[in-house]
Symmetry: C2
Subunit: 267 residues, 2 copies
């Protein structure tokens, strides 16, 4: 099977025009088949503030009410997505911006929860691999924004990391998929304050060791916030993704050729 | 050649949730190959006001400065376009929302003018017929928002009527194209205050007569504002479009089967 890179860019890059432009240049230069997934950055929050839409956050999760959905749809599928596509075009990368409703690319359902109402938040049901493949095979690069739909006319806000993971898993039936998450650090670090403490490769056995050293209890050897990310990475590997790579957006070429970041593999 | 309908919806429909929903239902029911083109409605102006972005209008034309471009990109390619696509999906019409940057669908250049600076306004250079055809032939309906790009990374604001016309002209090389403009009237009227005074068919000779009756000078028999629209309609016919139909969005089925609206033909 051919290689396919599914690359998620973090908000810190989206918020910085110069960094975004450099990132898109190096993304466009990747010779392989590829899909870009982007999140939102701070612009949606800023716009909601300007429009005086109160932002409800419950247990660290933003509640997407109807007005907030309008804002994130405008910012993610409109401003950010189309500017990314225009810049990729200018770098000779023929891109197409898609949300989940376009061509029924990603079908989701409104999150159900016994107690909480998250509002218009979508959990992914189906990724339309045939539709995405039709672009990839014509050398057109999909740029996905994290808005999905329920097939009944409702748009839904979906976490961009989840979109990247679900797309990577689904596309594994057709390609050897490498899933790259870019964020502000150089990789998974043993010392969160030292960007040179990158762990180059994490296997399931090393991950167990890092999470709960020696006795199976105690202080993890990595930043606690990385543990759910790594759990998700192994879940992706167990669903057919070949490799997950975590690292700095500025080092994209290194993440692709394996000289930078942390590679997570199933042995 | 197969028939293709290029259908432009006016702002009055976009601003009315119920009317839009009914329109999209009847649009989805059209059995033929089709492309939807939408404009903006009042939402962009409202959002610009809320964000306190001053709107400059010179000689009836809105100047698109950088902040206004941001707003129209968010509203047209984001909020309006993606809601239209989600609603079409719910009516079993597999649609894809596109702006000119997506797949390099519509290439434009920033308008040049000896005196005026219109800002980020784009005049169309090339419509990518092969790209649009690739969807139509797979029974995927393009929904086009009126934002184009210059190929150098710049998005541009382009009049939606112009997008509809340029797309209709370009697609005439591949299809028998009928271009439908929907607006708030039932068609071209002899009495602007009487919606029953629709002229069913306008040919070039009748148009001359309507513009300048008898002596070649004098008061036109139709509302003066219709004359540039009809000039554009004949320009489209002269560039290969088979028919132009003008009428009420609420009567879409009638506009398609010829029982409603004004049909403009070259004899």
């Amino acid at each position: 099977m051919a290689d396919l890179f599914v690359i998620k860019i973090g908000g810190n890059i989206i918020d910085d025009e110069t960094k975004l432009s450099l990132f898109l240049k190096s993304f466009a230069a990747i010779d392989n088949k590829k899909i870009l997934v982007h999140g939102g950055g701070r612009l949606a929050t800023k716009l909601a503030e300007q429009l005086k839409i109160p932002q409800q956050v419950v247990e660290g999760r933003r509640i997407t009410d109807a007005e907030t959905l309008k804002v994130v749809t405008m910012v993610y599928t409109g401003y950010i997505n189309k500017n990314i596509v225009a810049q990729l075009q200018s770098n000779n990368c023929n891109a197409i911006g898609l949300c989940g409703a376009d061509g029924d690319a990603i079908l989701a359902h409104k999150r159900e929860h016994p107690v909480m109402d998250y509002g218009f938040v979508g959990d992914v049901d189906v990724v339309n691999t045939v539709f995405l493949q039709s672009f990839i095979e014509k050398n057109i690069t999909p740029a996905l924004s994290p808005i999905t739909h329920d097939g009944k006319g409702q748009l839904l806000n979906t976490n961009a990391d989840t979109i990247a993971q679900e797309v990577a898993k689904a596309m594994s039936s057709e390609y050897d998929v490498q899933l790259i998450y870019t964020f502000e650090k150089s990789g998974v670090l043993t010392d969160v304050n030292d960007d040179n403490s990158v762990i180059p490769v994490i296997t399931p056995s090393l991950f167990s060791e890092l999470k709960a050293p020696l006795t199976g209890v105690g202080v993890p050897k990595i930043f606690a916030g990385m543990i759910p990310k790594l759990d998700n990475a192994f879940a992706a590997l167990n669903s057919g993704v070949k490799k997950v790579i975590i690292g700095k957006a500025e080092n994209l070429a290194g993440l692709i050729d394996g000289s930078s970041g942390t590679t997570i593999i199933n042995e």
